[in-house]
């Protein structure tokens, strides 16, 4: 179950990395939210899971308001990003399962891919909506890190992450002067 959730997290991150349209971005954000919430729930962090779910769902819903229309998946030029998503997934798998020890490898894998894929998207986007989606994903990923053991303030981090993610998606788009 947790492995599935981890895989969903990777799919969600990969969708965000590849998608250019608001629907694709919202889908990716939704998948990541569901995955993180599921993993947090499975780890016994129920309240944190709810906080993440609420914030992420709001963020995903708000993403549908603005941005380029449509899904924007597999646009021309997206092949390198698909390859990058696969590479990141493999590397994260190596760190999470092979290099590190102990239970919770799906958790570790999920947090790695969510943060790495959102970072990769931030480095390779020009569209404000895409950048904000990546930032919201990043917020959820970081907030969920706190639920990794030992986690003393996981709930606080999850609540703040949910609020930040929702708040980021609620912000209006900004165009530069003269753009």
């Amino acid at each position: 179950m947790t492995a599935v959730a981890a895989f969903v997290a990777w799919i969600g991150g990969a969708v965000i990395l590849v998608a250019d349209g608001r629907r694709g971005l919202a889908l990716g954000l939704g998948l990541v939210t569901a995955a993180i919430a599921g993993l947090a729930f499975a780890a016994g962090q129920h309240a944190a899971a709810i906080a993440v779910l609420a914030g992420g769902a709001a963020a995903a819903a708000l993403r549908l308001r603005s941005g380029p229309p449509g899904w924007g998946l597999t646009q021309p030029g997206s092949t390198p990003r698909i390859i990058l998503a696969i590479v990141i997934g493999i590397l994260a798998l190596y760190f999470a399962t092979s290099l590190s020890t102990g239970d919770g490898s799906p958790l570790r894998f999920a947090w790695l891919v969510v943060i790495a894929l959102s970072a990769a998207r931030l480095l390779d986007c020009e569209e404000p909506a895409t950048a904000l989606t990546a930032a919201a994903t990043l917020a959820l990923g970081i907030g969920a890190v706190a639920s990794l053991p030992p986690a003393a303030a996981g709930l606080a981090a999850a609540i703040v992450a949910g609020l930040v993610a929702a708040g980021i998606s609620a912000l209006p788009e900004v165009r530069p002067h003269g753009a």
Partner: protein, 405 residues
């Protein structure tokens, strides 16, 4: 409840200042009152004492508290003696938002929450209208947040020591990227408004962030302390050399100022990297000087830079002396502390550091000239900034005691 108020009151002040933009005077008064309330809360907060009013445990460390106080002082006198073409309420608005964010970063119970607050600030700043595209303004500081996040993930992983070292890489690189220091420099447009430029990260929010990240890093990955120190020193030296030389040789005066911040940060990073009390004290002094002297002087230099006014009068030379770290200004005791730390840890490094300290001079002379011929409020502001630097240079003990040194 002081930590909560330290976050909430400046945030409220910033929010009111935004809402009352059509009425700048009212915005200024209300923002000032709420900001002062926030500063009072910081002053009244006991270092290390936890507060759990909102279900989240907040507490301010001594160093973080001292940095918040210094940042508030800097904001206050920049607003009071605002540069001629700057709108006071706008300065206060952004300053209070930054201050609220800094309080949140400093008071947060874990590094994850601190970083989330940072991300919120990053996104807020990128949302303001500016010359550069939104995504590009967001890119560098958000990437910094991602790096810190990756560092946190590695820190939480159990396994071989290499994981802790990778965590250290993420945290240190993330901090460097958040500041906009080399090799993670943010894109910079010298003509851009200060509020939307990379300057707030390196000159206003950066000091508190650095204290929090470095303190938490030592708690999260104690066995990688050597690696953390080595990275900080290596990056610090890189920033010192490149920052000083670039500040001297770059074409644009505005870019020269940015590089001068980078050079100062290089020195602070070396101080933090040395891992002894004197080094940290020296680094704190450098950060105080950035907040109280270099940042305000940069703000007052913007108008003369636009007018291409460069002069060589006594005040320009005094500014150059303050920026160069010459006695009796704040940079000199900071350098003494750093030399002492370096000598006690590894004396050849002190030799390298001593040689590097001379690189500040040519760029400082250049930056001093960019102040032009100050008059009126600008002159008063420069005088206050130099007075702060003088006080810090002659008697830094009170601030260091405030920081728990």
């Amino acid at each position: 409840m002081e930590p909560e108020l330290a976050v909430a009151l400046p945030a409220a002040g910033a929010a009111f200042a935004v809402a009352l933009r059509p009425r700048p005077r009212l915005a200024l008064i209300l923002g000032a009152v709420l900001g002062a309330g926030g500063v009072a809360a910081v002053l009244l907060a006991t270092p290390g004492a936890a507060s759990n009013l909102l279900g989240i445990t907040l507490s301010l460390s001594a160093a973080g508290r001292s940095m918040l106080i210094v940042a508030a002082i800097s904001l206050a006198f920049v607003v009071i003696l605002a540069p001629v073409n700057a709108e006071r309420s706008a300065l206060l608005r952004w300053g209070l938002a930054g201050l609220a964010g800094m309080a949140g970063i400093a008071a947060a119970p874990t590094l994850e929450v601190s970083v989330l607050v940072l991300l919120a600030l990053v996104v807020l700043q990128a949302t303001v209208e500016g010359g550069r595209p939104h995504a590009r303004r967001l890119r560098a500081p958000a990437f910094a947040v991602a790096l810190i996040g990756l560092g946190l993930v590695f820190a939480r992983m159990a396994g071989p020591p290499v994981l802790e070292r990778l965590a250290a890489v993420g945290l240190v690189a993330g901090l460097t990227a958040a500041l906009g220091a080399l090799p993670y420099m943010h894109e910079f447009d010298a003509d851009e408004r200060t509020a939307t430029s990379p300057i707030p990260w390196i000159a206003f929010v950066g000091p508190v962030l650095a204290i929090v990240v470095i303190t938490r890093t030592h708690e999260l990955v104690p066995s990688a302390a050597g690696a953390v120190g080595a990275m900080l020193i290596g990056l610090g030296l890189l920033n010192i050399v490149w920052g000083c030389v670039a500040a001297w040789r770059t074409e644009l005066p505005g870019a020269a100022w940015r590089y001068s911040f980078i050079a100062d940060w290089g020195l602070a990073m070396c101080g933090f990297g040395l891992g002894v009390a004197e080094g940290e004290a020296g680094a704190l002094l450098i950060l105080y000087a950035i907040l109280l002297t270099r940042l305000p002087l940069y703000l007052w230099s913007r108008q003369p830079m636009r007018e291409r006014a460069q002069t060589d009068r006594p005040v320009n030379l005094l500014v150059a002396a303050a920026l160069a770290g010459s006695a009796p200004f704040a940079g000199f005791p900071a350098r003494i502390l750093l030399l002492r730390a370096a000598t006690s840890v590894f004396w050849p490094f002190a030799l390298v550091l001593a040689a590097a300290l001379l690189l500040w001079i040519p760029s400082s002379l250049r930056l001093g000239r960019t102040m032009g011929m100050p008059k009126g409020r600008q002159m008063a502001g420069i005088a206050v900034a130099l007075a702060f630097s003088l006080a810090l240079g002659l008697y830094p003990q009170p601030l260091l005691l405030l920081a728990g040194r």
